[in-house]
Symmetry: C2
Subunit: 228 residues, 2 copies
Amino acid sequence: MKEGPDIAQIGALIGDPARANMLAALTGGRALTATELAAAGGITLQTASSHLSKLEGGGLLAQRKQGRHRYFTLADEAVARLIESMMGLAASRGHLRHQPGPKDPALRKARICYDHLAGDYGVRMLDSLVASGSIDAIGDGLAVTTKGESDLQCIGIDIGSLKSSRRPLCRSCLDWSERRAHLAGSLGKALLASFMEKGWARRIPESRSVVFSPEGDRQFLKLFPLQS
Amino acid sequence: MKEGPDIAQIGALIGDPARANMLAALTGGRALTATELAAAGGITLQTASSHLSKLEGGGLLAQRKQGRHRYFTLADEAVARLIESMMGLAASRGHLRHQPGPKDPALRKARICYDHLAGDYGVRMLDSLVASGSIDAIGDGLAVTTKGESDLQCIGIDIGSLKSSRRPLCRSCLDWSERRAHLAGSLGKALLASFMEKGWARRIPESRSVVFSPEGDRQFLKLFPLQS
DNA sequence: TTCATAGTTCGATCGTAACCGAAGCATCTC
DNA sequence: GAGATGCTTCGGTTACGATCGAACTATGAA
């Protein structure tokens, strides 16, 4: 019976609501302080401190001290993907905690997932890249084509330099709101970064939401047309 | 803060050691009765009954009644993949529960993962299929080539009929012992089934282990040579 | 029918862990 | 230095849930 790794420890770490909320907040990709995470978890600083040390001890979080602040992030992309896939499963089983509010539609439209774009816009972007032949999709796998390489170069993404990083260029990531794949990996990160750099989109503080400016919206929709 | 699906519920379900052991036992792919799962979890039948109804209520398990038995399985492949990916993460963080025993090496060599082959042999099989050009690998994605289609036909796997099922033909599944991908999906299932049908391999009761006969071992190694 | 086996429900116990107040460090500012 | 801010540690309370014994229901066998 006692075969293999112990998933109960990790499950228990994620299984506490306060910790789950903190982890979900960190899925936003930003490094957060203990105080911010305490707020995200809806608990006091003392309690958060104890939770955070447990999460770190369990290998789910990484921290770096900076002056008198202590910044926490998810330990690595593997953790982010686990959290995201649990969200997908939770959504498909109807485990929801959101009370539908004004903020919710915005979140479904575009949000941060670790470091790339998710939601309707994230899914649309990947669909469009695949339809235009910039990205090849085989099952769950994604690869940039030579056509995509030059197309992306035109909008300021240098595939060559991205390739040199150890992180995979493309990854598909299951979107919990759309239930379809969006683009992760270093390319997904670079694309979102370029949108923000161009002023097309910006992040809403304290939230995973990403909002597009009217002009950015127009450009985005033109760049990634819907084909059906 | 209250954005998106609630991962805490699922985490908490997996987070109890007894439940985690039951889920891990079900990763073996077989449908198990409440009594068997109680043994797997190391608890009494009453306690198991309560756990099982929670797991079912949470959407992680499916059950079917058959006479006076009640058979439980993982709800679907998504759950199996979550469990397996948590095992991968747990292994990489050093959350182990196995006391190294004589059974352990066998488990690392070949075992069941839901319904396909995992462990050293599972990884080797996929590597060999990719190296021989039977399967194309792009990132995490896998696809059978036309060459692969005819090669597999020769060993009695009919890709055409597998394609008609709704389940994906190929999937990569991260192996927790090898830390590399092995072949899942309906093709992975069909391959393992054919090995067992030919008498090359058989399952060990009450375990995830798969043992190969001397002849089966020879055939398997010949069929999927190591290229390095 | 009677008996055995599979499983659920109830009730009570018990342990663990989440929680916060208060006090203690550590780091920055003035 | 003094004071403020960020965070941790300690101690004690509380609540939830895992556990099992016992009683109950359901299915199958004799």
